[in-house]
Symmetry: C2
Subunit: 138 residues, 2 copies
């Protein structure tokens, strides 16, 4: 991680944001990051979190993602293999999906359309097991 931070000062806040992000298995909101960082550094402010995230995004260390009908952005570390998620429309839980059906499709579309494709976004929506149980009982 560190080697990418050229031109930046190693602030305590940023170190802590990175530590928090490393422990996440699903994308988190700025406020969630804020609350987790605050446990270690109580004086941190939310705007600082936003500025750190902004910088990490510009360094391509962090990804921003928005989710259908949730109007807050979520962030996650850029990893070697990117992930997709199933999102429960009831409890909003995000469950990672292992594989990605898009990559080969991208090539096909690129050839057919001449569009220079650089990325994609893909999410599945539905009801998770736990919520399905609940609605059966009710």
């Amino acid at each position: 991680m560190q080697q990418k931070l050229r031109g930046c000062r190693a602030s305590k806040n940023r170190e802590e944001v990175l530590k928090v992000l490393e422990h996440q298995s699903c994308p988190v909101t700025a406020e969630e990051i804020y609350n987790l960082v605050k446990e270690e550094i109580p004086t941190v402010s939310l705007s600082t979190i936003y500025r750190i995230i902004e910088k990490l995004i510009s360094l391509e260390i962090v990804n921003k993602a928005t989710t259908l009908d949730d109007n807050r952005a979520r962030y996650e570390l850029v990893r070697e293999t990117h992930k997709h998620y199933m999102i429960c429309t009831k409890c909003r839980k995000m469950i990672p999906i292992d594989c990605c059906p898009i990559e080969e499709f991208e090539n096909k579309v690129a050839v057919e359309t001449g569009f220079n494709i650089t990325g994609h976004k893909f999410e599945l929506y539905g009801e998770c097991k736990a919520c399905a149980e609940k609605s059966k009982k009710a």
Copy 2:
């Protein structure tokens, strides 16, 4: 369209919103709808547009979509065959893609995970032809 509107009153504003949406080939923002409706009904207010959209979504006549690092929601009519888009990261233009690689994948994931999948969202990002030309010249 009309038959779905049970329990609702046929207001002029809603008729006009539906008419506007029928003429779109790509999802539009609330403000874009507002401006188009205002051409016919100058007294309409933006909050009314938001309320009409909300109702149309709950009736499953309209879909809401958010797009990568664009913080305004976009709306489109639910159609028999759903569409996906390529989005140019430079000019923000949305170009419809004909086919959908997700549907068969959905079934596979459903079986493997027990997740009851009801829908998905999928977008491609890249540079459109026009923007590619421009950056070559520069």
